[in-house]
Symmetry: C2
Subunit: 208 residues, 2 copies
């Protein structure tokens, strides 16, 4: 008997980054019957990405805050969304029942502004790191990490790092074999060491 698929709220907002969102969505789709993906936004309907293409939100945030996994992408739109009380309050509500909360790139700025990362370790995009870190002074920001796991929270570095984190999340939930199989089917070379961050050194001083 298979367990029910985990219900995923994959959040979009104007100016979300397409690869932050669709990299994880692709990989979560690969383990059979493991994840049920719902594209959610403040309002139902078309939402324009930072890259131009518009994606349909099939559910409004107000319809439900009850999901097993919340996925939050980054993108230039986060600069606006950090001041969106509707999204921040929904994130606070959704966190209470979620088994996992994951962000990609500057998506961790939204989790930080919602107060969800206070006292926790987290990371973000390396180019925008200082701006993201300024959104949550009580967060233990890690400048050198491909992704960071702290309790139910998984936060990744920029854009492509979201795929490595998602495979880490799949391994955590379903086992290493399921993550390796998803990577193989997507012909993705998984950078499976969360601590290895080739993009950290090039973009600023490291904290001591």
């Amino acid at each position: 008997m298979n367990p029910s698929p985990l219900r995923v709220a994959a959040v979009i907002f104007p100016g979300f980054e397409v690869l932050d969102f669709f990299g994880p969505v692709e990989l979560l789709s690969l383990p059979a019957n493991a994840f049920s993906i719902n594209t959610v936004a403040e309002r139902e309907g078309a939402v324009q990405s930072a890259q131009g293409p518009r994606v349909m939100a099939e559910r409004a945030l107000s319809q439900s805050a009850d999901y097993d996994l919340v996925l939050v992408p980054g993108g230039v739109g986060t600069r606006t969304e950090v001041a969106n009380p509707v999204l921040l309050e929904w994130l606070r509500q959704a966190e209470r029942s979620a088994r996992f909360v994951a962000s990609v790139c500057t998506g961790s700025a939204l989790l930080a502004r919602a107060g969800l990362l206070d006292g926790r370790r987290a990371t973000s995009n390396k180019i925008a790191f200082d701006w993201v870190a300024s959104q949550g002074s009580a967060v233990r920001w890690e400048r050198r990490a491909r992704w960071v796991e702290d309790g139910k929270f998984f936060t990744s570095s920029g854009v492509s790092a979201g795929m490595d984190m998602t495979l880490g999340l799949i391994a955590h939930i379903l086992g290493r074999g399921a993550a390796d199989d998803a990577a193989r089917r997507a012909e993705y070379l998984w950078h499976d060491d969360a601590a290895s961050d080739p993009f950290a050194a090039a973009t600023g001083p490291q904290p001591s």
Copy 2:
């Protein structure tokens, strides 16, 4: 004086694979003012991906076949689209004026069925390779390649390989520095050797 951006027709169809499409779209968005991306489909409006999320086509194929770069993703929907005369005829028309035609994963089955790859070298997804190869008996299929460049045609292996190919295309058009910069900004570890294919050996015998 900057040249005009290259006009990209990024094609979607029911059952397209999200990472095949949005990996390349993400990377093409990064070099400043270099590519202008248009999401096109047989009809304007929402198109459902293989993974569930729906993406808006902003232009119908019938509106124009005049683009500089045509990008064709794969996905389970290719099994239907290989028999879609509207799409195949549009691909033949668009190829005439395009400077580049690129496919990801099983997208090369569509180029092959349109007859565009006859006599050319090309590759595809490794798990679906035999089906793709059966769509074009005059194509010189290469089982072991991350991606293949032959004249204006760039074809990649499965899903994630489309990102490596797209960086190869950016390097071809704008120079290696532009590709490296796009990879850095996306925090993407570019597998830049088109001939290196870690997924070929595991999925079947190699041609002699």
